[in-house]
Symmetry: D2
Subunit: 350 residues, 4 copies
């Protein structure tokens, strides 16, 4: 059985496990005051070019989104997000649990844009009943998006400019940040991201860690009491070392981007396999998630050979958008297995 | 430097790390549908003697308490707990964040008792303004308590009986469950706990795991939608395998209780060291947390030798209650180091 | 100055004020235990044909929606509503404040329909990631809608059938219930509404009361602890008599529907005025809110004469949808004043 | 039947009803933008000597407490209150519903004191685990307290000084403010209260209004978005005129304090009746709530004559603390009726 269903099918990059073993009996303080976490935070400050950054290591994505958003919003404010945004759809109401509405914006290929954002804000400001409505208090976007797409430097700068005009902080969900930055299509670096956002996170769970998301407030701008907010959200790990060791390992010697690049290389090969066999794609994703379109028969052929993938959406003509994800752990053998079982598309170019 | 500050100073039991390494490249489904989690749940069903049990693997203690309590209470209900209970004091308002009040009961040595509970409920029921008050909806207790003490079988049965009379579910916080069950003073087994409670958890973080708490609804009585509630609370790990592997390891061959017993043995030796040097104890704890009373000078002597502990409380006479915790990882060398630097108490028996 | 901006520009129906004066010094119990509230509840039970109904008198609409929805949902559930629904847009996030997401459905003229609802539920049930999403737990609709439109008996029955299939309670927001039931287009009675819904409310604030909304659980099906939930939501009035007296007055001798019918009569006259002068309407509303389309010049002519109305939306061609609302208090003199200042539409039929 | 059970047994002061009738057909804007509310706000600014004050008119006490506290606290903060404080006990968890813990302080006769407050804050600041605890973010007190007692100017100044030192805002619950200010024991005026607090409210419901509490931020210091927060809490009345008219009436010509003084006069007479008949008091209350101690037989004698009161608490010796409340509406005839049926205490001075 071989799985392309997601980018969290394996454990952790071996370097992480090795380090866990090496450091296992070192006695450390709890709750993030351990030496590994301290070093991880320092490495992140260096890698982001933000010596003043406040860095917090949390456990998972939904938790991180809920904690950051709740910390940045006042009670009467909501978060603006693409209507396909993870916080809007797939977090079981975690944002609302914290009392906040997700205000949705139309998206294209998973991305919001500066114009749509500006229009929303202008319409809101012109609405005579705006004081009876949830106030926009924060802009959320993901990089890469839930569709694997990337904002260009210019697109992000334009969104940032709208945020500045309207005095809205910008929060970038980087659950798959590595796979974005390592993409051929990326025209931004980690430093660019840090310079552009008020807060973002470097996703570990999907990029080689067992778990962990590193929240960065680049200019030392963590909201007051953020540590306590993290605790209140159940997001504070007693053995903070588990997160510290992982991020220390990932951020050392560029391992994070290196293994992310591996996933991109594998995604490119995967894309080629589908293209060569004549498959269309639902979206042109430059990152580790690929969305080829398959007929039911084609899907069945692949599944029957125990090569797994996700069914993403059904098209009106009965075909399905599928998701094949690569990761730091995807081997050439995995891809060869896929190639071996993937039938040629009967109607190439369809 | 040697630390007795808490029971989460080291990483994980080596068997866990070994298993993480062995299984690292096995491809698994996410969110707890992996084979390790499935096996861990099955082992827990066996160990608790509850073949119908619903088992969920969460990440940390505060998170688990907040999730379980929120799932069990209706909006107008609160949770009854000792006023020293972890949920009442040291969870940064995680319960209130979920909208619920912690209704506090007086405690003795960290324990509530059936009489106090009954009195509270009777007084509440007789209060003419009770409909203007938070309704008691759940009883929370910890085993061992925050003071290291244990409920006897009889005490717990009496509390259970009150719960039955008043139709209140009983939730046992087992963050340190192993250290309770392995204590010489324990007259209950894991099966007894499961038989007595409506929900409890087997604490991993403090008993040999990197992280993880196994929530058990012994009679398949998990509230509807609990999986989604877990997700909403940010408590659902994408790589559920991390939790599955740990609990599979801990619940196999009795490892959990064996390493807990080691901590008790070390606590007994630690207690002897203090007693032989003439130190009084604040409380007679039969578990892995010990609370000797030291003068400032005595504390300084120990600290100066880089043997660390926690200052728990200050007494009116200037002395301090300290906490020395042992764990699955406490070695004889640790204890010898302590013995070497601990000065004799100047006034034995004080 | 004459105002058609909304249906809450005046105080209360004189019969209410008269009753307030008459009863002023009668000493009554607080919090809804007064004799007027008791009688009001009884009159509502009679008028709805539901002798077992649980009736609660709350103060305002947003408050009532937030309280009822919170009481009916479990934490992981959300409420389904038209994306134009009051709870979705104009309640400042009151539902989210209670921890619940508003799950929006597409609407036509403010109405959801059984097919759209069924499609949502089927899609949800078929979504493999549904357990990571907010579960639909309640259907909300308003009668009349925010656009002044009405569900027919058949439309409501079809929605009810979907609710039954999916075991979802149905909640009808009746903030303007009277104006719906009194409409020429209505094919339902108060008893029909009661028979069809799991909970609904009879709006007082907009139909002749100073304030007040009567929540009805027709089959004695108020959720456990609802009184305490009301208190928790800050919705319990100490002087419950204020609400009791108002609903007692409104529900006696059919006053409620009689004054609602007056508003409909006035709305019909108002509609005629606009039609005769050649104005188009944005929507064909059979209730007390009318939505004629005016040019800027036409709006200015009316405003300049101190006849007030609400600008509802701007059309692409620069014209505006306006809202002119009548109420129990709209006099013929009001309408004559409007007629006098409303210029003929330059392009009739446009 | 005559009732002394509380201070909300009657409707409203006749001048309020008269004004409601007079103004009934004046067309006004909704949501507090009416001319009566504007004038009420202006009168309150004058009466408090705070020309810059932000004033909001809300409906009820629990609602007001919940809204103000939620607006002033950040998510990780809690409100400090006497453990007998209304927010701590009798608001059905409304504060916790908003996500905040009530941090309780010991009280004497319903009052906290500066020393107790300072000790709490010092202990908290010295607690090494304070970041794992709810941060104190606001001080709440009531004037008069739930026991009818009053803070002296000096006591309040001392509390204020602690608040200043610790940068905590001070919130005064004035649900019965008039009965405090009009007391012979009061050494503070409305201006003094305004000068001392960061926010407080002038209670209407219990002092002659049908409903309504006027929240005052004396120095224009309402938190950003407070109007929307009020709406979100379901506390915004569509017909704000109902509140505006009432407070305009109460704040004109000193009516508010005049009718409050009447209640105090009646309370003084009531106290004399009990004292002359030899009854002891549980507490020496200088306001409109009196707490005489009666035996069961004495209570029965009074009840049997249909003179109603509240049983406040039961004493160990079987006697009960009762509450007899006067109000703006208490007549001499009420008191004479009480005097006629109250038996002499068998053991005077007991």
């Amino acid at each position: 059985m071989i799985s392309f269903t997601c980018d969290y099918t394996e454990g952790a990059h071996p370097a992480i496990l090795e380090r866990l073993v090496q450091t296992n009996f070192s006695q450390e303080q709890g709750y993030g005051a351990d030496r590994f976490s301290e070093r991880a935070r320092e490495l992140i400050r260096q890698a982001t070019g933000c010596p003043q950054a406040d860095v917090f290591l949390l456990v998972g994505g939904t938790q991180t989104n809920a904690t950051v958003i709740d910390a940045l919003l006042r009670g009467y404010e909501g978060v603006l997000a693409a209507d396909t945004g993870h916080v809007a759809v797939h977090e079981a109401g975690a944002i609302e649990f914290g009392g906040h509405k997700v205000l949705t914006l139309p998206q294209r290929e998973g991305k919001i844009d500066a114009d749509g954002l500006r229009r929303y804000l202008e319409t809101f400001a012109a609405d005579e009943s705006r004081d009876h409505m949830v106030q926009p208090g924060l802009v959320y976007l993901s990089y890469p998006t839930e569709y694997g797409t990337l904002y260009s430097r210019q697109e992000l700068a334009a969104i940032r400019a709208v945020c500045d005009t309207w005095k809205l902080p910008l929060f970038l969900d980087g659950a798959r940040l590595g796979y974005g930055l390592a993409s051929d299509a990326a025209d931004m670096t980690l430093r660019d991201i840090a310079a552009c956002c008020d807060v973002f996170y470097i996703g570990g769970t999907k990029v080689g860690a067992l778990c962990g998301e590193a929240v960065v407030f680049p200019r030392g701008n963590a909201p007051k009491g953020f540590f306590t907010t993290v605790k209140q959200h159940g997001a504070l790990l007693a053995k903070g070392r588990l997160l510290g060791i992982q991020f220390e390992t990932l951020m050392e010697d560029g391992l994070y981007l290196r293994i992310a690049r591996h996933a991109i290389d594998q995604a490119n090969k995967l894309k080629t396999i589908f293209l060569q066999k004549g498959y269309p794609f639902y979206i042109d994703s430059p990152t580790n998630q690929q969305f080829p379109i398959l007929t039911r028969a084609q899907m069945q052929a692949v599944s029957a050979a125990e090569v797994l993938f996700e069914v993403w959406a059904q098209l009106p003509d009965g075909r399905c958008v599928t998701r094949f994800a690569t990761s730091w752990a995807t081997t050439d053998a995995h891809l060869e297995a896929l190639e071996a079982v993937l039938p040629p598309a009967t109607t190439p170019g369809n």
